[in-house]
């Protein structure tokens, strides 16, 4: 039966999700002078010492690595905000709290490259881990409620990484439920059961009707 689910696996790799996240804007405080740069993805600068400016995350990390700036952590990444979020996340059973779409990737990149720019980094790290866990657990319990009669599943405020992890399983599970529940409604070519047509089996295998 495993062959019936979506064979693609995740459509995107984790690295590709990070790539998308790297285009998010963050605030930096340069410690040098540089003229504006006109990149394909946009124009940024001019860069003046101690004057904050917004750049894409990949650029911020590049500058930070060369010791040319400090990165201001986004305002949702404070101990207070995150504690609030965690509580709200724990209190609501089936609702997800609004979080930046790429919060996992952004926090990961900042932890790796801008440790010294994040106040109370250990606290922040552990709070984000807890939030991640609570949300994943919610996804799990929510998935248990899917049945053959589910037409659509709505998950509000899910983040990019969570969507990407859940995607193959969710699509496959819904697909399998659909097939098992509505064998009459499944078109002939689908009934063979997998991506590759198995014409040789067509005579021998029959779909089971629910009793």
């Amino acid at each position: 039966m495993a062959g019936n689910s979506d064979p693609h696996g995740s459509a995107f790799s984790a690295a590709e999700m990070e790539f998308l996240a790297e285009d998010e804007l963050v605030e930096i405080v340069p410690n040098m002078r540089m003229d504006p740069i006109n990149l394909i993805c946009g124009d940024f600068g001019p860069f003046r010492p101690q004057i904050a400016t917004q750049v894409p995350l990949w650029l911020a990390v590049a500058l930070k690595k060369r010791g040319k700036c400090t990165i201001r952590p986004p305002e949702w990444m404070s101990v207070d905000k995150l504690t609030q979020l965690l509580e709200a996340e724990r209190d609501t059973e089936r609702v997800f709290q609004p979080l930046p779409f790429h919060y996992v990737e952004i926090s990961r990149l900042l932890f790796d490259h801008a440790r010294d720019d994040i106040p109370d980094i250990y606290m922040v790290k552990s709070l984000i881990e807890d939030i991640k866990d609570v949300r994943f657990h919610k996804i799990g319990t929510g998935l248990e409620t899917i049945s053959g009669r589910t037409n659509a599943v709505k998950l509000s405020n899910l983040s990019a990484m969570e969507v990407n992890i859940v995607r193959p399983f969710l699509a496959g599970a819904l697909q399998t439920f659909y097939k098992l529940h509505n064998p009459e409604m499944v078109p002939e070519s689908e009934r063979r059961g997998s991506r590759r047509p198995q014409g040789a089996d067509r005579g021998a295998r029959r779909t089971l009707k629910p009793r």
């Binding site: 969507v163 659909y178 047509p197």
Partner: protein, 183 residues
């Protein structure tokens, strides 16, 4: 922030990102973005020349490396976009060739690639397997002479569930008569 978002949504970099995302997530091959790819190629070439000029003129290496990084990112998007499409063509080449609508979604070079791949695969099947099978089973498109359709041709599964992300809160809406969701 909203204005910025709608502004950058129309840049070529953003359009290329969207085309890449869609192509990766869709099971079938989508329409080739000829103009977008053309414009991206031109921009890439321009930046490549700029970087060369900068290096010659001794512009500070930091600036040069930032331009180079931006260039690498766009190159990655473009290459991955083209590669994803090629993978789909390889997987479903017979199916694409049979359907004119799908065939027309390919670029000229992709169509050449598909034609040559098909010739190669046909020849390979013929030599290694099909010529040795009994007469009624020699086609690479049909299981046997008695098959009603081309059942040896893999097709992408178009009836699978999709996951989509709405940009704004849409409120409640109906999906046929029953609406069921958990959130």
């Amino acid at each position: 922030m909203d204005d910025y978002e709608s502004l950058i949504a129309t840049t070529d970099a953003e359009l290329l990102k969207r085309a890449w995302r869609n192509e990766k997530a869709a099971p079938e091959i989508l329409q080739f973005e000829t103009e977008l790819v053309q414009r991206s190629r031109e921009q890439i070439q321009l930046v490549e020349e700029t970087v060369e000029e900068f290096t010659r003129n001794g512009i500070d290496p930091l600036t040069v490396s930032l331009y180079q990084m931006d260039l690498d990112r766009i190159l990655f998007l473009l290459r991955s976009y083209l590669r994803t499409r090629l993978q789909k063509i390889e997987k479903y080449m017979f199916h694409i060739q049979k359907a004119t609508e799908l065939w027309n979604r390919l670029s000229k070079q992709e169509q050449n690639f598909a034609k040559r791949s098909i010739e190669d695969i046909e020849q390979h099947f013929e030599q290694s397997v099909l010529s040795k099978l009994p007469d009624r089973y020699k086609s690479h498109l049909k299981q046997s002479v008695t098959s009603e359709e081309d059942d040896m041709v893999p097709e992408p599964l178009l009836d699978t569930y999709v996951i989509c992300r709405s940009k704004r809160f849409l409120g409640a809406f109906q999906l046929d008569e029953r609406q069921l969701f958990y959130s």
